[in-house]
Every structure is written in structure tokens, then in C-alpha cells.
Amino acid sequence: MEDILVTRELKKYYGEGNTLTKALDGIDLTVKKGEFVAVVGASGSGKSTLLHMLGGLDNPTSGKVIVEGSELGTLNRDELTVFRRRQIGFIFQNYNLVPVLNSYENIILPLELDGRQPNQEYITKILKIMHLSEKKFALPSQLSGGQQQRVAIARALASNPSIILADEPTGNLDSNTSQEVLGLMVESVHILNQTLIMITHNMQIAQMADRIIYIEDGKIVEH
């Protein structure tokens, strides 16, 4: 299978001299299309920083991030934004839905921002997989936490991105709901042949992944 994501000697340093913090210190990572990778590490290990770098939300100090052949470092601000909405689907811990848009509108928001017409069939399919058909027109404030996160996942899937990046997607949910949401997420990734990189604390969840990466002090370590 083709390599969809490659990083080379990826470094992110903050501060200088005595206060120098090495958030990422030479990450070499390759992810194949359709793979589900779990990133595990303690608080402050650099796993969120890595995710931000992969999604083009932050610039590395040095090194490269190559997604589907294009190197993020060569893109300007607007190109990065366009890259994000086309190639990356984000799922955040706190859902980050737009409060004034209903579920459907939130889901298709990245497409609309891109000026694309949503493929109704595809969206309906996603809504169905995520068990959201009934809640299509509900506003975020009318949904439970689990439902909101399912909308966020659907949003990440909607633009059919190259990679889905999830940062502790079930961190705010109770364990039953977490299982349910996660189950749906993994299922959808498989059905739609999506690539998923997910940060988690929870080893039980991490076990569901094809591969687990451990990060300590900004470096990938073997377990």
C-alpha cells in the first residue's frame, strides 16, 4: 500500500537557551493509506504537537511533513488552509461544532468552505453509519456529548480527506459512550477506507488500532 503520510526528522522546539523545550525531537513516521494508528504518550510527551504538525496547524522548527506527495512546509497560509479542508479531517476532544449550524450543516461545512457541492449519497451514508439520520437538523445544543462527537466525526469524514486526525476524541465522554463512538469511528474508517491517526491515553482504545506509536520526550520509542 502507498505511503500516505511521511515525516522526516520532524522537530519542534520552543524557546531557547535554558528554556529550550524540545516538543518534538526528530520524528520519522510513515503511515500507509487505510491504516489506523494510535499515538500514545504521557501528558506533555509531544503527541498533540505531532498531530498539529501533521494537520498543518503548526509549523515545524525543522524537518518535513509530506502528505500524499506534497510537502506542507512549501505551502503558504491560504494553501495550508485549503490543504486542511481537502486532505485533513480533524476531530477534537471538545467537538468544536459551530453552535449556529445544525448537524447536517456542520458536517458539510468544510465542503461548503471549499465551494464544493456535497455528494448527497455519500453524506447520507455517513449520517447512517454514524446513526445521525434522525438528528440531521438538530443544533449542537440539542445533542448529547456522544451525538455531538459523532457529528464531529461525520464532519471529518465528509470531505473524504486523506487523513483523519483525532485528538482524544472520547476524552469528554463516559466509557460506554466512548466505546460506542469509537466503535462507529473505527467502523466508518474501515468502510470508507480512511486513514486515521488518533491520540489517546486509553490503552484499551489503542489496542483497537492497527499500530501503536509511543511517544516520550518528543521521540518515538519502541515498546
Binding site: D78, T81, R85, N94, P99, N102
Partner: protein
């Protein structure tokens, strides 16, 4: 109750929160400063206006003193002066009512004895010298000295010809001192010493009750210890001394009748409740309050919304409602403590700048001598009103902050009413403009509030401008003179026609009539007052002067047809047949100066009155020459500057000049009044010709509507300046408010924008969304302003304009049109620059701030 000492911690939190809100603080201080500036300026101006009006009235009344006893004898003075109610009493006696110097013809000059209190009351402050002591010493004012051509040097001798009781005298005086005459004072006094008065005493017996000659009569000015209930105090004082006055309903012919009145200056302050100045002040205060309230409320409400989670956290940690209220109030107090003093200082200076302009626009033309004093009560008042405004403005935000539920606050996403909201049945809400609209709908109450408060500022600005723009110079000038030109002698225009020996020459009138610009005109004629007098056998005519029979003296005029025809008919019909037949008279009702007729006199159209004609040419005793009966055929509204000899007090009665001449031996032409042919150019040319004409004839003069118009051309500008300053501040408050609303709405949603950008919203799209939001605000505000501006203009402003005689309502939305682009520019610029600022911060950082 368990109390604990938690004050330090509350103070600490209040301090920290205060510091964390720099932007809000700045805008709040600006708002407080502006509000205080408005209060201080309006109070300074109001107070100065009241004060000037009072000073002016004191000056008009001839001096300070709550009450005046006029034309009394020395005996009355002696009996009254030691009354225990009296705080100060000033004694004056007229020696000569005319100084017979040709060089003084243009000035109304009189010779008086005044005691020191009287000089003080009159406000004569000697520039140089001392009060007159020896028999020969006099003091006078600078204008009179200039008129006489005498050097302002103490010890200079002055030879004066003057008339005392119809006897001519010449005397050599010595100048002991002088004071600077006020620019517009109408009487110039020469004040003699007590010694001189004693020496001349026998030549000036009191004869006012016999011949109404003022010389030798005493006028006293009194200040009571208590300045309230003046009328009752006069009654008591006079009763105790055995006298009566009008206020007791006494008979004017009674031997113990005294002419007493309350000084207009004090009448004015006594009747403050119906004064337009006070009404204006109250109105303006309310207006400022509302303006200030809206912006300060808005700032705090937005700030509380922003900090709501923080308040929720504090509550979770055990902060009580009272403590939260305190927290907010402390911050407000601190802002007030900075903003109010700055506002007071700025407001004071603004007031000082505007007061002279305001004075110029009133009839109180002593603008030059306006002295502005720092009056603590103005500052206290302005500070008090500002603080109250702030306190009330903060009351709702204070309540919101204190009532916050900890749980709700933590989940608070600035969206109101989570319950019962319908699902949103749309599929294209992700479009930029739809999102913008939806964002504004998130907190409809706040959006509406912002739009309303902005709109209100625009409406206020518009209303102030509309009102001010309605100042009608024409109406204002018509109040003084309702014909294009009036020509007469120089003395006539100095209000000294009754004493004038000089008559308007026929050549002057012929000159005017022969000009091509001349349109139509007519003469006003009467008699020399001291030679022929008229009394009406009627109780229905008010008059201060009465003959031996108690009949009121009247001012009878003969008027040419042109004047009679153009008089402003109030009642009855101008029946020329009756008039010409010598059977009818017209009663003139004076215009009170505010476009309304003075209290109508009781005589009715159709009433018949007998007029007694007297000749007093040769002797003191009246000699009746004729008695005729006339019918009152009409009442007309007259301008005193147009239709009288400008020396009034008696009822003005008009008959055709030819009828008048039938009865009168020695007619005198008072003035010739005329209009030019249509056209501004004609008036301009006539004005120039007359100016040239009187230049070489110093005894003649003229007055014209144009002169008044020129004189008052600045008045409109004054109104516009003052209105613009106020409207401008109000508009500026609106702009600050708008800025604040835009600014906070962007800043509070930083996290949300980061999220949108993380899912692919470009900077450009974000900018478009925010600019769209701003434009919706701006356009909603503009539309609302136009709607309400029109409604308010057509109702309140129109009514107020109509109620003031020199304002004509002219509808305009120009100020809103001027403000609109500013709103639109801010709506574009604020999001634009804020986005630029956001771009500098990384999305990651912003995502965390969520």
C-alpha cells in the same frame, strides 16, 4: 449571621479582573468621560445662561435689589428704611432727567444722586477715582465722558447744561471718578454728591403726584434678609409703615399708595418652574442620561457575557451573589473614578468655549462681559449625574453576573435559550453570509440592543441637528421689525424720542420715497408727550400713569393707511369707513417678544371709550381740550420697535393720521416705515443709500430688517455649533459603542474562529464572515435610524420646534446620511484589522483559548 473577613480577597479579584479587561476599561472610560463632558457642559451652559439672564435683568431694572419702590417721597423712604426685614436698602434720587449737551444727543443721560449702596447695586465699579464728596464732585461712566469729549482724568472740570423741573441750569463740576460703561447700557448716569443734592434740594421738590415729573422723586432698591415670598414681605413692610401697594389690591389714587414691584431679575428666579431654560436643561439631562446609559450598559453587559465562565467558576468556588455584585461594582467605581474627573475638566472647558456663543444667540447681548466662574455645584451635579448613570447602567450586568448558575456558566457558549428551540430545517447554513446572519441571531437580545443603542445615538444626533437647523432668522427678526425699513431721528433709535426736540425732517422721508427701490410706506405720528396727553375714560386699559380723575394715560398714534392695513389683526375688523369717520380706534397689543401677545387687555371689540385730550404746553396743570367717544373696532398685534415711539408702558391706540391731525395741534412724526419693492437687491441698495445718507446727517438714523438679519446671522451658526458639539458627542458615543460591539464580538469568538479555520476556513472567508456581520449591524442600524429618525422628527422635534417661535421645522435625515458611511467603514475596518491581528496568533494557541 456569620461574617468573615473576605474583603481583601474580593478586592484582589476585582483588581485582577479589572486589569485583565484593558480594552473594555479603555472604552468604558471613554464612554464615561463623554457622558460626564455632556453633563458638565450642559450644566455649565445652563447655569451661565440663567446667571446672565439674571444679571441682565438686574441691569435692566437699574440695579440689584429684590424689590423697587419707585417715585416715592423722602418721607416714605424714612419710614421704611429701618424696617427689620430689610437687609440692604439703596437710595437714589433723580436730579435732572436731561443733560442738554448737543454732543450727548445720541446718549440717554440723566443726573442722579445715589448712595453708596445704590452705586454698589448698580454695579458701577470705579476704574479710577473715588465717590463724589464735595459739592462739585461727580462720577460718571466712560461712554458719557467720551460723548462729552472729556478726558478720563480725575480732577477735570466739566461744564454741564441740564434741565431740572423745566428750568435750565449750568454748573461747573469736577470729575471725581468714572466707571467703564457696559457696551449696551441704555442709560448713562452722572452721579452727584450728597452735598450737591442738599444744595439743590429746594429746587427739586417732589411733584410726581401732580405732574409726573420724575426729578425730585426717590427710587429705592431693597434686599430683604429672606429672599422668598417677596410679595408678602412688601405688603408687611409697607403695612407696618402705613402704606399700601398694588399687591394689596389697593386703590392707586389713595394718598398712601406706593409704587412697588419685584425686580424682574428675581421674578425670573421665582418663576423658574415654567422657564424654558430649566425645561431645556431637564430635557438635555434626560437625553444625556439615556445616551450614557445605553453605551455604559452595553459595555458592561458585553463584558459580563465575556467573563461569565469566570463568574461561574467564582460561584463554584463559593463566591456569594453579593460578592459578585461588589466585584463588578468595584470595577465600575474604579472606571468612574478615572472617567468622571477627566470628563469634568473637559466638559468645563467645552462649556467655557460655548457659553459666549450661546449668549450671543440670546437677546442678552452682553456677551463680552460674560464672566464664567467655577461653580462647585456644577461639578458636583455633573459628577453626581454621571455616577448615577453609571450605577444604573451597571445594575443589569451586575445582576446577570451575580445570578449566574455555576453549571450553566461553564457550558456557556453565548447562545441564549437552549430549551424548546426548534431544530434548524436548513441545509445551506454553511454559506458565509448565512453563518454571519446566524451568528447575529445567537444572542438576539444583544444584537437588538446594540442596534438600538447605535440607532438611538443616530436618531438623537439627527433630532438635535433638525431642531437646530430649524432656527428661523426671518421669524426671529420679524419679532423686532416686521417691515423692511424704519427711518427716524437718532434719538428715536436711542429710545429717547419722548425727550427729543429734534423732528424727523420731511426731506428724509421724501428722499426715501423718491428712490426707485421704494415700495410702500407710511408715517406714524403722535404728539410731544410733555405737551399733549390723552387719557381714556375707561377702567379696562392698564396703565401706570393716571390723571386726576384716575383715567389711564394712553399713547395715541396716527398711522398712515399703509401701516393700518398691514397690522396683524387679532380681533375685530379693520373697518376703514368707521376709522376715517373718526369713530373707530384700534388697540395695539404688544408682542411679548416670544411671538405671543402679552396678556390681553380686558377691553373688548365693540366697547366704546371716551378719550380726553389735554394740553400741558404752558403750565403744570392739565388743560382739557376735547373729549371724544370712539368705538374699539379691532385689536392688532404690534411690534414695539415698529409701531411705537419705543417708549412704552401705556396702551397703544391707533387712528388714521388724517383723523389724528383733526384733533392735534402739534403733531410729531415718530417714524416713517416702509417696504422695498420685491427683491433682495432692492433692499441691499436701499440699505447702502440710507447708510450713506445718515453718515452725513448724524441726527438721523434708520433701522432695517437687514440690519437685524446681519446682526443675527451669527445666531444660526451658534445654534449649529452648539447643536453639532452635542450631536457630535452623541454620535461619537454611538460610534464608540458600535466599535466596542464589533470588537468584543470578534474577540470573544477567537477560539471558535480557530476551530473554523482548523476545518478549513481561510482567513479571507473569516474576514468576509465578520465583515458581513458588521455590515448587517451597520445596515440594520441605519435602517432603524432612518425609521425612528423620521418618526421622532415628525413628532417630538416637530412639536418642540413649533412651540418655539423662532424655530421652523425642516425635515432632514442628513445627519443619519453622514453617520451611515462611518458606521459602514467601522463595520468593515474593525473585523478587517482584528483578523489581521488574529492571523499573527497561531491556530493552536487560539484553539486552546476556547
Amino acid at each position: 449571621m456569620i461574617s468573615n473577613n473576605n474583603r481583601p480577597v474580593i478586592n484582589k479579584i476585582a483588581n485582577k479582573t479589572y486589569r485583565a479587561n484593558r480594552n473594555r476599561n479603555f472604552i468604558a472610560i471613554v464612554a464615561i468621560v463623554l457622558t460626564t463632558v455632556l453633563f458638565t457642559t450642559i450644566f455649565t451652559m445652563g447655569f451661565e445662561l440663567l446667571n446672565t439672564v439674571k444679571q441682565e435683568n438686574i441691569r435692566k431694572a437699574g440695579g440689584d435689589g429684590q424689590i423697587v419702590l419707585s417715585n416715592i417721597t423722602d418721607e416714605v423712604y424714612k419710614k421704611v428704611k429701618d424696617n427689620p426685614r430689610i437687609d440692604k436698602i439703596a437710595y437714589t434720587k433723580l436730579v435732572a432727567d436731561e443733560i442738554l449737551e448737543d454732543s450727548l444727543r445720541g446718549l440717554k443721560s440723566e443726573m442722579w444722586y445715589m448712595d453708596n449702596t445704590a452705586i454698589e447695586f448698580a454695579g458701577y465699579k470705579l476704574e479710577d477715582g473715588h465717590f463724589p464728596q464735595t459739592q462739585q464732585e461727580i462720577i460718571t461712566d466712560s461712554k458719557l465722558l467720551e460723548g462729552l469729549g472729556i478726558e478720563k482724568k480725575i480732577g477735570t472740570s466739566i461744564k454741564l447744561n441740564y434741565r431740572v423741573k423745566d428750568k435750565f441750569r449750568t454748573e461747573e463740576f469736577i470729575l471725581a471718578g468714572y466707571w467703564n460703561a457696559e457696551e449696551f447700557s441704555d442709560v448713562h448716569r452722572i452721579i452727584v454728591s450728597k452735598d450737591y443734592l442738599n444744595a439743590i434740594q429746594n429746587d427739586i421738590p417732589y411733584t410726581y403726584d401732580i405732574d409726573m415729573n420724575y426729578s425730585g422723586s426717590v427710587v429705592v432698591y431693597i434686599n430683604f434678609k429672606d429672599d422668598k415670598k417677596l410679595s408678602e414681605q412688601i405688603t408687611m413692610m409697607l403695612e407696618e409703615s402705613g402704606y399700601v401697594w398694588e399687591g394689596m389690591g389697593a386703590d392707586k389714587n389713595a394718598s398712601n399708595f406706593v409704587i412697588a414691584r419685584i425686580s424682574p431679575a428675581y421674578l425670573f428666579t421665582a418663576s423658574l418652574d415654567n422657564s424654558s431654560v430649566i425645561m431645556g436643561l431637564i430635557g438635555a439631562t434626560l437625553l444625556i442620561f439615556v445616551t450614557g446609559y445605553l453605551i455604559i450598559y452595553n459595555i458592561f453587559q458585553i463584558s459580563v457575557m465575556q467573563d461569565i465562565r469566570f463568574f461561574g467558576q467564582l460561584k463554584t468556588l463559593g463566591t456569594t451573589e453579593g460578592q459578585l455584585k461588589q466585584l463588578l461594582q468595584k470595577q465600575a467605581n474604579r472606571l468612574a473614578a478615572i472617567g468622571i474627573p477627566i470628563g469634568l475638566i473637559l466638559g468645563y472647558f467645552l462649556g467655557v468655549l460655548l457659553v459666549p456663543a450661546l449668549m450671543q444667540s440670546t437677546t442678552y447681548k452682553t456677551a463680552d462681559s460674560v464672566q464664567i466662574t467655577v461653580i462647585p455645584i456644577i461639578f458636583l451635579g455633573a459628577a453626581f449625574f454621571s455616577f448615577i448613570t453609571i450605577y444604573i447602567s451597571v445594575s443589569i450586568p451586575r445582576k446577570v453576573a451575580s445570578k449566574v448558575s455555576p453549571l450553566e456558566a461553564l457550558r456557556f457558549v453565548d447562545t441564549k435559550s437552549k430549551k424548546l428551540k426548534k431544530e434548524k430545517q436548513s441545509v445551506n447554513g454553511g454559506k458565509i453570509y448565512r453563518m454571519a446572519i446566524a451568528n447575529l441571531g445567537r444572542n438576539r437580545k444583544r444584537t437588538l440592543l446594540v442596534v438600538f443603542s447605535l440607532g438611538l445615538a443616530a436618531v438623537l444626533f439627527n433630532s438635535v441637528f433638525t431642531f437646530v437647523n430649524g432656527f428661523d432668522e426671518e421669524a426671529y427678526v420679524n419679532n423686532f421689525l416686521d417691515k423692511d425699513f424704519i427711518i427716524s431721528t437718532a434719538e428715536y433709535f436711542n429710545y429717547a424720542f419722548d425727550k427729543s426736540e429734534y423732528r424727523i425732517p420731511q426731506s428724509y422721508i421724501d428722499y426715501v420715497k423718491s428712490q426707485p427701490e421704494f415700495g410702500e410706506g407710511g408715517r406714524l405720528i403722535r404728539t410731544k408727550v410733555l405737551q399733549e396727553q390723552f387719557f381714556a375714560e375707561s377702567d379696562l386699559l392698564p396703565s401706570p400713569n393716571r390723571d386726576v380723575n384716575g383715567y389711564p394715560m394712553i399713547d395715541l398714534y396716527g398711522a398712515d393707511d399703509y401701516l393700518l392695513q398691514s397690522m396683524d389683526l387679532l380681533e375685530g375688523v379693520l373697518d376703514f369707513d368707521k376709522l376715517k369717520a373718526g369713530a373707530g380706534i384700534i388697540i395695539g397689543i404688544s408682542d411679548s417678544g416670544f411671538g405671543n401677545a402679552e396678556a390681553n387687555i380686558p377691553i373688548q371689540v365693540g366697547d366704546k371709550i371716551k378719550i380726553h385730550f389735554y394740553d400741558v404746553t404752558d403750565e403744570i396743570n392739565l388743560h382739557e381740550t376735547a373729549v371724544r367717544e370712539f368705538e374699539v373696532i379691532a385689536k392688532v398685534l404690534i411690534k414695539e420697535n415698529t409701531y411705537t415711539d419705543r417708549h412704552t408702558g401705556n396702551t397703544n391706540i391707533y387712528i388714521p393720521s388724517d383723523v389724528f391731525l383733526e384733533y392735534i395741534k402739534n403733531p410729531v412724526t415718530v417714524s416713517y416705515i416702509f417696504n422695498c419693492k420685491e427683491g433682495e437687491k432692492n433692499i441691499q441698495q436701499m440699505q447702502e443709500k440710507l447708510e450713506y445718507y445718515v453718515k452725513s446727517n448724524s441726527l438721523l438714523n434708520f433701522d432695517s430688517k437687514k440690519k437685524y438679519l446681519d446682526e443675527f446671522s451669527g445666531v444660526k451658526n451658534t445654534f449649529v455649533i452648539i447643536g453639532s458639539v452635542f450631536g457630535g458627542i452623541i454620535a461619537f458615543i454611538g460610534i464608540v459603542n458600535f466599535f466596542n460591539a464589533m470588537f468584543t464580538s470578534v474577540l470573544t469568538r477567537k477560539g471558535e474562529f480557530a476551530m473554523l479555520q482548523s476545518v478549513g476556513m481561510t482567513d479571507q472567508q473569516l474576514k468576509s464572515m465578520l465583515i458581513t456581520e458588521g455590515l448587517i449591524y451597520a445596515i440594520a442600524t441605519i435602517l432603524l435610524s432612518i425609521l425612528f429618525g423620521t418618526v421622532v422628527s415628525l413628532t417630538i422635534v416637530k412639536i418642540v420646534s413649533h412651540s418655539i417661535w423662532f424655530f421652523t421645522f425642516r425635515f432632514t435625515l442628513l445627519p443619519i446620511m453622514v453617520l451611515s458611511p462611518i458606521f459602514i467603514i467601522i463595520a468593515i475596518m474593525v473585523p478587517y484589522f482584528l483578523c489581521r491581528g488574529l492571523e499573527k496568533e497561531s491556530i493552536i494557541v487560539r484553539l486552546r483559548t476556547e
